[in-house]
């Protein structure tokens, strides 16, 4: 107490001292957020109004970058790809997580082992599983083509599933579901375990079947966990870069499209910044609506 008192003038009352102390405590975190998150965001917004020249001397061009981006059909392709990617991966990871969590909530031999093994895709380094997937789907040497074309004769010709721009998005979606469903599973399972068992017993006494029990007890209990998982997954996958980029560069979701625009070819950094601002605005608007309507905050 003596130390705390020494930090502030004696004239300050206890409440004011505590407020200052609170600010001191959050100051390091605040500085980090300001320097590593807010500064790049504002600098990015600033850059989006300029024709960026890496040798220095940026030229102010008003809204021209935004105009160029919005009039570019490749940008809209990228928006559609992103929406497709986000919707399917979010639904996929959540449902897969839910089904597996429900299964893992039942008792069976070696459940502890299965529960741990399910987490493997989530904890494995992304680069190593990406290489495995690429090898599996290699058009000439991969096992997928060997089995489906040569053994089962499901397809007439070999094709490059990961390389083909049209098919690659579905592989990326499948990969994301496989890699990330354990997170949803873990969250849902922990909530399932916390549900009072008396509720199920009471429902059984009332003659409720499995579906009715799920609808009336399980779902309302896990609703907000699932709501939070969906929100997080949408935020993460809307900005997803490394999984898609490492697996296949052909799926131009917004973050990858921005990278190509800003850092390859003619390096349109101003336009890259504009796309990032648009992406950010879309995401923020969505989060506001979602939080209000679904999470009812």
């Amino acid at each position: 107490m003596e130390t705390v008192r020494r930090l502030y003038p004696a004239s300050l009352d206890r409440k004011a001292r505590e407020e200052i102390f609170g600010w001191i405590l959050i100051l390091p975190a605040l500085l980090i957020i300001l320097s590593l998150i807010l500064y790049p965001i504002f600098y990015n917004i600033y850059l989006s109004f300029f024709n960026v020249n890496l040798d220095g001397g940026n030229t102010y061009i008003g809204l021209d970058n935004y105009k160029d981006v919005v009039l570019d059909p490749f940008f809209w392709n990228s928006v559609i790809t992103t929406i497709l990617y986000v919707i399917f991966t979010t639904i996929g990871t959540t449902f897969m997580g839910l089904i597996v969590a429900m299964a893992m909530n039942k008792t069976f031999p070696l459940r502890w082992l299965v529960r741990s093994l399910i987490l493997l895709p989530y904890v494995a380094p992304v680069i190593s599983v990406v290489f495995a997937w690429q090898f599996i789907f290699d058009p000439v040497n991969g096992i997928f083509m060997d089995v489906t074309v040569n053994k089962l004769h499901l397809f007439a010709d070999r094709f490059n599933l990961i390389g083909s721009p049209k098919a690659a998005v579905w592989v990326a979606i499948l990969f994301s579901i496989w890699k990330n469903f354990p997170f949803s599973y873990l969250m849902i399972l922990s909530r399932l375990q916390a549900i009072d068992k008396n509720l199920f017993e009471a429902a059984e006494i009332d003659g409720a079947d499995s579906w009715q029990k799920f609808k009336a007890i399980t779902f309302p209990e896990i609703y907000f966990v699932m709501g939070a998982i969906v929100l997080l997954r949408i935020i993460w996958n809307f900005n997803k870069f490394e999984e898609v980029f490492l697996l296949t560069r052909n799926v131009k979701v917004l973050s990858i499209y921005t990278y190509f625009k800003a850092f390859t070819g003619t390096m349109e950094m101003g336009q890259g910044a504009a796309i990032a601002v648009i992406q950010f605005s879309l995401l923020i608007s969505f989060i506001f609506i979602y939080v209000k309507k679904v999470l009812k905050w």
Binding site: V140, N141, G163, R249, T264, T266, M267
Partner: protein, 460 residues
């Protein structure tokens, strides 16, 4: 309390002389000028990095005031990384990259051309193969953007035994190449006609350039006007797109050369870097996967492949054209002149006989000398992998001679077209080819897109 004050006082007293020693040490170090710099190299493979590190360690042992940090940068990322480093003011001391990339950096005015020219003149202009220096000369004669260090030539490597059996001519003309690609394309048997690049990467441009040049198609005319949308270029793009139909499915890059080593490809565009993979089992193993997949067709090393492989380095249509890349060492402009002089010292060391030959022996056949005296040096010709013995000194001399005659889009009638190098560094052509071959865009639309991107660069 008194005790604490006393102990603190004693500690300060004891530490004071030590800080003096330390400060003196720093002064001494500053006087003798310790410098450190980054060396960005495109030799990303771990064994090559280890060899370069050995050279660095030897050099720094002889020059304890200099420390060098070796950084591997993928060749496809080099231009973007350098541009962002330039903007951030964190350029490395030196780099090793293809001549076109080096010229593009020179055009951005971030290279120390005076230092590069000084080193070249110090070694002796007449000691170099003239063709290799020409690729790095600025628009003012006798000054250079960077120093040629090693190089390779490229062509079509093909199964000469298959060609002989089928009665086909070697792939040295448009017609013969396309005919053979069609003939050997048997996807039902998991066998493909040819490998040309279809991914939006540098390799694709390396495959496309000799085809375009053999059709007398260029990016710029001798007056520096962009002529990409010429009928000759369109023919070349259409021909390339046709060839690409006979490659393995999907976007492909140099890595698909593995299919050739596995006996699943008839032809592939590749540099002379492939020579050790063809001849030596331990080198080829990385491409064969035999250890893990014994049942996979072509997973074991074929000792006859080297003698059953032919090499067609020149493509002919309206005119003959070859392709190759000279890899250069360049110095970035520095605020601190001590760094520049340290880099100069290191580059001079890299040109000394033993260091140079050690460097080149990382990939015999792939890394060929640009100094005449090294090419004929018995130490160089006695490479540890025995590539010279496998192919014979005559073949190796032909390859090195080919290096002297490399042609590129960036030199037209002896004039330097800087924008062509920038177009190459920014991979506009590979992106266009990807759009055509993988995204199904028609040739006219893709060429219009590429032309507009090139115009942006030409206007800068």
């Amino acid at each position: 309390m008194r005790k604490i004050v006393f102990i603190t006082f004693m500690c300060v007293l004891l530490l004071l002389p030590l800080t003096g020693v330390f400060a003196n040490g720093q002064k001494e170090a500053a006087a003798s000028g310790p410098v450190s710099f980054d060396f960005w190299t495109t030799e990303t493979q771990s064994n090559r990095m280890a060899t370069i590190q050995v050279l660095i360690d030897t050099f720094t042992a002889l020059n304890p005031d200099i420390s060098i940090n070796l950084v591997a940068v993928d060749e496809n990322d080099m231009a973007a990384n350098v541009q962002t480093a330039a903007a951030a003011g964190t350029l490395p001391g030196m780099f090793e990259a293809g001549a076109e990339t080096a010229v593009a950096f020179g055009a951005d005015n971030i290279l120390d051309t005076d230092a590069a020219t000084k080193i070249i003149k110090g070694i002796g202009v007449d000691k170099y193969y003239a063709g290799t220096l020409k690729l790095l000369e600025t628009s003012s004669k006798g000054t250079y953007y960077a120093l040629p260090y090693h190089g390779w030539i490229q062509g079509i490597w093909y199964r000469s035994d298959w060609f002989k059996k089928a009665g086909l001519k070697p792939p040295a003309t448009w017609e013969d190449t396309l005919k053979a690609a069609k003939y050997f394309y048997k996807p039902d048997e998991n066998q493909y006609g040819i490998l040309v690049g279809t991914k939006a990467e540098g390799y694709t441009e390396q495959c496309f350039t000799p085809i375009a040049m053999s059709n007398d198609a260029a990016l710029f005319n001798k007056d520096g006007k962009l002529i990409f949308d010429s009928p000759n270029m369109k023919q070349a793009v259409e021909y390339y797109a046709e060839l690409a139909k006979y490659t393995p499915p999907g976007p492909q890059t140099w890595r698909a050369r593995d299919y050739y080593l596995q006996g699943k490809l008839a032809m592939f565009y590749y540099s002379t870097y492939i020579m050790d993979d063809l001849a030596l089992q331990d080198v080829a193993e990385g491409s064969l996967t035999g250890e893990n997949f014994k049942n996979l067709k072509g997973s074991s090393f074929d000792p006859d492949l080297v003698k059953n492989t032919g090499f067609a380095p020149i493509m002919t249509h309206k005119q003959p054209a070859g392709f190759g890349v000279v890899v250069a060492l360049g110095l970035f402009k520095q605020k601190n002149p001590a760094v520049t002089s340290a880099v100069e010292k290191f580059i001079n060391y890299l040109y000394t006989q033993n260091a140079y030959i050690t460097f080149l022996h990382m990939a015999p056949g792939g890394m060929n000398p640009v100094l005449k005296s090294i090419a004929t040096n018995p130490l160089f010709q006695n490479d540890p992998k025995g590539i010279f013995k496998h192919y014979g000194p005559q073949k190796m001399a032909e390859i090195i001679q080919g290096l002297n005659n490399i042609e590129t889009f960036s030199i037209v009638d002896g004039k330097r077209m800087v924008a062509a190098s920038q177009i190459s560094a920014k991979q506009i052509i590979p992106q266009m080819i990807y759009k055509i071959t993988q995204e199904g865009m028609n040739v006219d639309k893709a060429m219009t897109w590429a032309n507009s991107e090139m115009e942006k660069i030409a206007k800068q």
